[in-house]
């Protein structure tokens, strides 16, 4: 479960070592944009050591390496892969070929390290117009791909438009990515909301992303983590309704009925599927139905 994913700059020890105390389901150790070219070596070693020595149980580690058009990405993987990150976030993924190139090198390292195939997942970061248009091909380019991730800052620069709080400029990219990811059977995560001090804005933005079908949302500030977790968690009303749906289905089966209504609405397969997803997530969060 990755409701929230918090970016942490890869060369900042103070933030890295506290990353597992900030409430997010996952942290993204950033070796790319948050690190200047002169400090790439230092960040790579610092992130490697943080993963090697610090306990991040309960918080998945994702590492954003440098893009495959830089001289850094293979050295990033050489240092990071032995520490078994949950996912590698691959920036500026534009084509299926980009994924396959990264996948081939990760496969080579996994074999050297004696890891089972696809131990480390890949999450292409879609942040160019080319990437958006190739989203389904990217999501299906390798078995290692577990999710797509939308990066709106670079995307809007590529689109030559302004990034706004309302996000109309990324509407197409958001819906396109959700559709491509779901068609490919992988997860999909939304871009960070960048105004750290706008509490109402982050709530609206996260709620909208959830409504579109995103699985979770990234953040650049610990301050946004709580709101994102709340938005992407099932509400008590949703949980209770889901249990009612499953009870109704069980009753219909016991009575030999093919269909049943609940609160005046027919219960069909998509409703059951949604109820199962909600209950699975609630159980993962330690939540249950209300006291009767």
């Amino acid at each position: 479960m990755r409701r929230s994913m918090l970016f942490l700059p890869g060369n900042n020890p103070n933030m890295l070592i506290n990353g597992n105390c900030l409430g997010s389901d996952a942290v993204i150790f950033d070796l790319e944009d948050a690190v200047s070219p002169a400090e790439k070596d230092a960040a790579r070693i610092l992130v490697r050591n943080t993963m090697r020595y610090m306990d991040f149980r309960g918080c998945e580690i994702i590492v954003r390496i440098n893009s495959i058009d830089t001289p850094y990405w293979k050295r990033d993987l050489d240092a990071i892969l032995p520490q078994q990150p949950g996912l590698i976030l691959l920036p500026k993924t534009g084509t299926a070929k980009d994924v396959q190139e990264a996948d081939a090198y990760i496969t080579e390292l996994e074999q050297k390290l004696g890891f089972a195939p696809n131990t480390v997942g890949l999450m292409p970061l879609i942040e160019t117009a080319l990437g958006v248009e190739n989203a389904f091909a990217i999501a299906t380019a390798a078995d290692r791909v577990q999710a797509l991730f939308l990066g709106a800052e670079d995307l809007t620069a590529d689109l030559r438009c302004k990034r706004t709080k309302e996000g109309r400029e990324i509407e197409y990219a958001r819906t396109r990515l959700v559709m491509a990811a779901r068609a490919a059977g992988v997860e999909v995560y939304d871009t960070p909301f960048t105004d750290v001090n706008d509490d109402e804005g982050i709530y609206k933005d996260a709620s909208y992303a959830k409504a579109l079908g995103f699985s979770g949302k990234a953040s650049i500030s610990p301050r946004h983590v709580g709101v994102i977790n709340e938005v992407f968690s099932p509400s008590q009303a949703d949980i209770d309704y889901s249990y009612e749906v499953m009870d109704a289905i069980a009753m219909a089966k016991a009575q030999g009925k093919g269909a049943i209504a609940l609160r005046g609405k027919m219960i069909d397969a998509p409703i059951v599927a949604r109820a199962e997803q909600t209950i699975a997530m609630a159980e993962a969060l330690g939540l249950g139905r209300s006291e009767q």
Partner: protein, 89 residues
């Protein structure tokens, strides 16, 4: 391979450590300043020496200014300084 040039790594920020390294003819010389010198000075110096040994550095002068860094951070910054001093970064 030995240290061939002056190099540095890390910062003076809280939870970090600043490490400077320079060539030296014979042996290791470690100069340490730390906010936790009294309690952990010896342990920090041992860590610095161990990392340099692991990096194959036998001769160097090292200045370490610790701002309360954890051991994994100290290890990272010393390794980075050593790699830079050897021209391998």
């Amino acid at each position: 391979m030995e240290i061939t040039k002056c190099a540095a790594a890390g910062t003076m920020e809280s939870s970090d450590v600043y490490v400077e390294i320079e060539p030296r003819e014979t042996g290791l010389e470690v100069e340490l300043q730390s906010v936790v010198q009294a309690q952990f000075g010896q342990a920090i110096e041992e860590t610095v020496r161990q990392v340099l040994k692991d990096c194959g550095v036998e001769n160097a002068k090292v200045r370490v200014v610790d701002r309360g860094a954890l051991e994994c951070v100290i290890r990272a910054r010393v390794e980075t300084a050593a790699m830079r001093g050897k021209g391998e970064a």
